[in-house]
């Protein structure tokens, strides 16, 4: 019968979803259960594996190595941190931080026009080409890229050949003669290390920057120009402050990646150590785990300080 109560009920509530359907119903009524189910595994992972290992590392840095036997002394002490202040270790820290800062600054400068063009003007096929161009370097092996750069920068490499071809070799030689940033060839100089860092981390700056610039409405720029601001003034007073969260996000990538990398300076550069390499050599055969741990704490502290400064300067106000 059409009018029976059961048929009427079926018209209102569709049945037949089985057990899976009933589980979905429970989730719908109590969304907290679903949230717990979804979040517990990653939180456990993060909590135990990540935070746990970080704490273990931190603990290690408060031990010290026994001068006599080379064994680790499991008494809490700040001696290992004191060792960080040795001239040689301080050199490593300063060298790394300075490089990271310069690489970050340079990537902001190089990435901005690219990101700005992509965010404001590129459409359709050009936009796809932009993404391809920026992402392509990320797809090929990191090592392959660095070896390729070694070939470009070597004394008998592509760049040198190009300078010779254009009779500008004197320019390169004059540059390489500058102490500190120069060297026997580009590939054994800080300049080479810098160039490769810049190349490898640039996509990590371009992408967040482009995302941030895309969120700045076009009429903000017109409004600024309308109120008498030259393009440069518009850039300084409107575009940069509004794109700052993207710049900060990108700089966190480029800065921390440079701080931690130990492969690029090993292949390109003058063999002077960076923090990552120092960690690698101290934790290896040397068995000086406390000093290695203390070295790893350095970038963590620097990044914490950097974020705190950025927050104080209002970098996240426009979020």
């Amino acid at each position: 019968m059409n009018n029976s109560a059961n048929d009427r009920r079926g018209a209102v509530i569709s049945a037949g979803f089985g057990l899976a359907g009933q589980i979905s119903d429970v989730f719908w009524r109590k969304p907290v259960i679903l949230l717990l189910l979804m979040l517990t595994p990653p939180l456990l992972w993060l909590g135990v594996v990540y935070i746990g290992s970080l704490l273990a590392l931190l603990a290690q840095s408060f031990f010290s190595i026994d001068e006599f036997s080379g064994l680790i002394n499991y008494h809490l002490t700040l001696k290992t941190y004191g060792e960080l202040l040795n001239p040689a270790n301080l050199d490593i820290i300063l060298r790394t931080v300075l490089m990271a800062a310069i690489v970050t600054l340079a990537s902001v400068i190089v990435a901005f026009p690219v990101a700005f063009y992509a965010a404001r003007y590129a459409r359709g096929r050009w936009k796809a080409l932009f993404y391809l161009g920026v992402m392509l370097p990320l797809w090929s092996s990191y090592l392959v890229k660095i070896y390729a750069w070694k070939l470009i920068l070597a004394k008998e490499g592509i760049l040198n050949w190009f300078f010779e071809l254009t009779h500008l070799k004197w320019l390169l030689d004059a540059y390489l003669a500058i102490p500190l940033i120069g060297g026997n060839s580009l590939s054994v100089s800080y300049t080479g290390t810098f160039l490769v860092f810049l190349y490898v981390w640039l996509p990590f700056m371009v992408l967040p920057m482009q995302a941030a610039l895309e969120r700045v409405p076009a009429n903000f720029l017109e409004a600024s120009s309308d109120l008498g601001a030259t393009p440069w003034q518009t850039f300084r007073n409107v575009l940069l402050p509004l794109a700052l969260p993207g710049v900060i996000a990108g700089s966190i990538f480029t800065f921390s990646l440079t701080l931690g990398d130990y492969i690029i300076p090993q292949i390109i550069g003058s063999s002077r150590l960076f923090i990552g390499q120092a960690v690698y050599s101290h934790q290896g055969t040397a068995g000086n785990i406390p000093l290695a741990a203390a070295f790893t704490v350095v970038p963590v502290v620097i990044m914490g300080f950097y974020l705190w400064m950025a927050k104080r300067k209002g970098a996240f106000d426009a979020l």
């Binding site: 409405p217 009429n219 017109e222 120009s225 309308d226 008498g228 402050p241 509004l242």
Partner: protein, 328 residues
């Protein structure tokens, strides 16, 4: 009186799209001028041409007799109130208003004082320390106005300034804008697609259609004496009587416009029309009618009694209200 803005044969093409096509226009100093038209008619592009955000493909634009098509927007003494206000979210209300002064390197104390005065002018005194996100739509609108006026522009451009506001606020702001314009004596050029807004506020109106100006005139001219069928239709949604009907009724040639409010319901002796739809508007009732096979709109007062959809009804109007459109 010299013209504040002059367009001489100005065109702006986007590829094959003629957004603005050979427009001639003269806006007088101190005038409240409206650019009215449906979306895509070229009115906003004209505004952007004056502001300098677009450059003409051809023709000449003058502001106060100065040719300005080669002058960038930041060097034109023209300011704009944007449709969605474009207030800078990272600056406070006062900093937004004082932006133009900051750019001109006016000293900080002085510019904040001027900003406060400008805010008082738009009845927002004391709001300077807030962020734009903490204001209501109407308040933001007035901040945008204060920001655009603080530099004392020769011409103020307003792009659909009331579009985002609700009806009541919109009516209030219309009155306020008119008073402000009268008090300041600045030329206002404002773009709208809302014909009632244009009619109630403007000294003169340019009606745009497909990149060209269909008619320029006072609100009365535009409303009562439309020169084209488009203007008649767009402004006040006139009934357009086909030429055959006009000849039959009045013996004149050409098509004619007839305002909906000119139509009355009569007991007998009028034209017989069929009611196809009706809607009660409070102070009046709008009827959709079928008259000799043509669709008609009528706005009638509620005293005519009740009528059923599908029922015949007698309607009439004064011949004088029937405006013959020339050139059609």
């Amino acid at each position: 009186m010299k013209p504040a803005v002059t367009f001489i044969n100005v065109s702006r093409y986007f590829g094959s799209v003629k957004a603005v096509n050979e427009v001639d226009l003269a806006i007088q100093e101190g005038e409240f001028f409206a650019m009215l038209g449906p979306s895509g008619s070229g009115k906003t592009t004209c505004l952007r041409l004056i502001a300098g955000f677009e450059r003409p493909t051809g023709g000449e634009i003058k502001i106060l007799d100065e040719p300005i098509q080669d002058i960038p927007p930041y060097r034109r003494n023209v300011n704009t109130v944007f449709q969605d206000y474009a207030l800078f979210p990272h600056l406070s209300v006062a900093e937004n208003v004082a932006y133009a002064l900051m750019i001109r390197k006016v000293d900080k104390k002085q510019r904040l004082q001027q900003a406060e005065e400008a805010l008082e002018m738009v009845r927002l005194g004391g709001y300077g320390d807030r962020r734009p996100s903490q204001l209501s739509g109407g308040q933001r609108q007035r901040v945008a106005l204060a920001r655009a006026l603080i530099g004392k522009p020769a011409v103020l451009l307003l792009d659909e300034p009331l579009g985002a506001l609700d009806l009541k606020l919109r009516e209030e702001m219309q009155e306020e804008l008119k008073q402000l314009q009268r008090a300041l004596g600045i030329t206002f050029v404002f773009v709208t697609h809302d014909q009632s807004e244009a009619l109630s506020m403007a000294d003169r109106i340019a009606v745009f259609n497909e990149g060209e100006i269909a008619q320029i005139g006072t609100p009365q001219d535009i409303y009562h004496r439309p020169e084209t069928e488009f203007v008649a239709n767009f402004v006040g949604s006139s009934n357009v009587l086909p030429a055959a009907l006009v000849r039959q009724m009045s013996g004149r040639t050409g098509i004619a416009s007839l305002r909906p409010e000119s139509i009355r319901v009569v007991a007998e002796g009028g034209h017989t029309a069929i009611v196809t739809a009706k809607s009660f508007l409070g102070s009046a009732t709008r009827l959709s009618l079928d008259l000799y096979g043509a669709g008609f709109n009528a706005l009638v007062d509620n005293s005519f009694g009740s009528v059923e959809i599908g029922a015949p009804i007698q309607i009439d109007w004064d011949d004088a209200d029937m405006h013959l459109i020339e050139g059609a």
